[in-house]
């Protein structure tokens, strides 16, 4: 096993572990902290895929914006009383069995798949030579112009939705 694999396995294991902790914590704020840990480790896995821009966006958007929103909502709802309750769900053994079956299923399938990616234009060396932001910038704003412009419409809907929902609450 190389050093590289040790690093990768650490990040993979931590990703799984912290996501389990996210769903098992009773205190919602503790869940948020584990989710922060989870996002940081996912960002590290993006680095192993030579996707440094995605790693930064993972932290900026997910950890910096979406998770802060979660935190605000949790604080807004004041979930203190929920801590004292014993369990939220009683069907967890069923869930566990389903989960294990799914994992077995995935392992079975993954063993059968052989991926032969034909190396395209954007090899690791190519991206190294001009920088990932330049590469993504050149591709995203030319070849994927339509999806990019559609994103602005989706964001517009999000703004309007947030304002409408909140306005109802104020009045």
């Amino acid at each position: 096993m190389t050093t590289l694999q040790i690093f990768f396995i650490y990040f993979a294991v931590m990703t799984t572990l912290s996501s389990i902790l996210v769903i098992t914590r009773k205190n919602a704020v503790h869940s948020v902290i584990w989710m922060l840990v989870l996002f940081v480790h996912i960002a590290a896995i993006y680095l192993f895929l030579n996707a440094e821009l995605l790693a930064a966006i993972q932290i900026i958007v997910y950890a910096g914006a979406i998770l802060v929103l979660y935190l605000f909502v949790i604080m807004l709802l004041n979930l203190r009383e929920e801590d004292t309750k014993k369990k939220f769900l009683s069907q967890w053994p069923l869930g566990l069995i389903t989960g294990v079956v799914f994992i077995m299923f995935f392992i079975l399938i993954l063993g059968k798949i052989t991926v032969f990616p034909t190396p395209g234009k954007y090899s690791v060396e190519f991206i190294k030579s001009e920088g990932i932001m330049m590469t993504i910038g050149k591709v995203l704003y030319t070849e994927y112009l339509l999806p990019f412009e559609v994103v602005s419409l989706i964001l517009l809907v999000a703004i309007i939705g947030a304002v409408v929902l909140a306005k109802k609450k104020i009045s």
């Binding site: 205190n27 704020v29 930064a56 914006a65």
Partner: protein, 325 residues
Amino acid sequence: MMDISIIVGTIVKIAIVVTITMLHVAYAVYFERKVIGHMQARLGPMRVGPHGLLQPIADFVKLFFKEDIVPSNADKPIFLIAPVISVVAALASLAVIPLWETFAIANINIGILYILALSSVGAYGIILAGWSSNSKYSFLGALRSSAQVISYEIAMGLSLVGVMMLAGSANLVDIVNAQSKYPFILIQPVAFFVFLMAAIAETNRAPFDLPEAETELVAGYFTEYSGIRFGLFFIAEYAGMFIMSAIAVICFFGGWKGPHFWILSHVPNIVWFLLKVYALIFFYYWIRATLPRYRYDQLMSLGWKLFIPLTLANIFVTGLVKLLY
């Protein structure tokens, strides 16, 4: 296999930078008290050592030996890690800052985004500290602070877009090298102004120090913190100031580069860099001594209604001018 010598070299670099930053933090506090003291016709600290020069050391010793009080009903684990998150976010930002051309701990392509990412993680230290303390002052301070920090984060990110357009890179070394003819402040004054204001708001400094408005909220989100934990928040704030000033110098004032004439071209790069950084830090103190604190509604509308449109207009004009020339 990774080369052991590279790893050792990196650790040495990190040790140097972190030590310098810690010393900077200690003496930036002293310097601030002195500067503001003299601006208000006082002397500032004078008792410990000549002209109070040993004051920061005395302060550290005091904080270190003080009792560490965890308020009853506090969420203990979160109360414990909140200051650590703040410190980690602040110190880790140092990794991408080039002190001179060949001295950056990590020379990565997404330098600016790395800084923005860590500053958004830094907001967690504030929110969690306020939430976990189980104190009303802390909670209100944290709420105000987090809303302020996230509002100004957009303005900060957008103000750097103009710089990235001019440099064609988000790598901090490339950005400095792109300024070999003239510093970007000359063509991006609006972006610099917005960046500076956003940086002051991000680090919760006067006149945007609403979260820790001591006359209203005691000490805001760290009201309940004592001893060395309080010290950690202090380290995070002053290290944050250093980092924001360093980014401003790198993006707008040509980083380590100095003028190329006469004897000035023989001054080492690091001296230029630190000189510019400390000039900006002095500006922080100056503002604190001069301006009264903003009201919270004024602060929020300044961020949302003035700075964001200003930066968008700046991007538009920069793009247009770049197309024409």
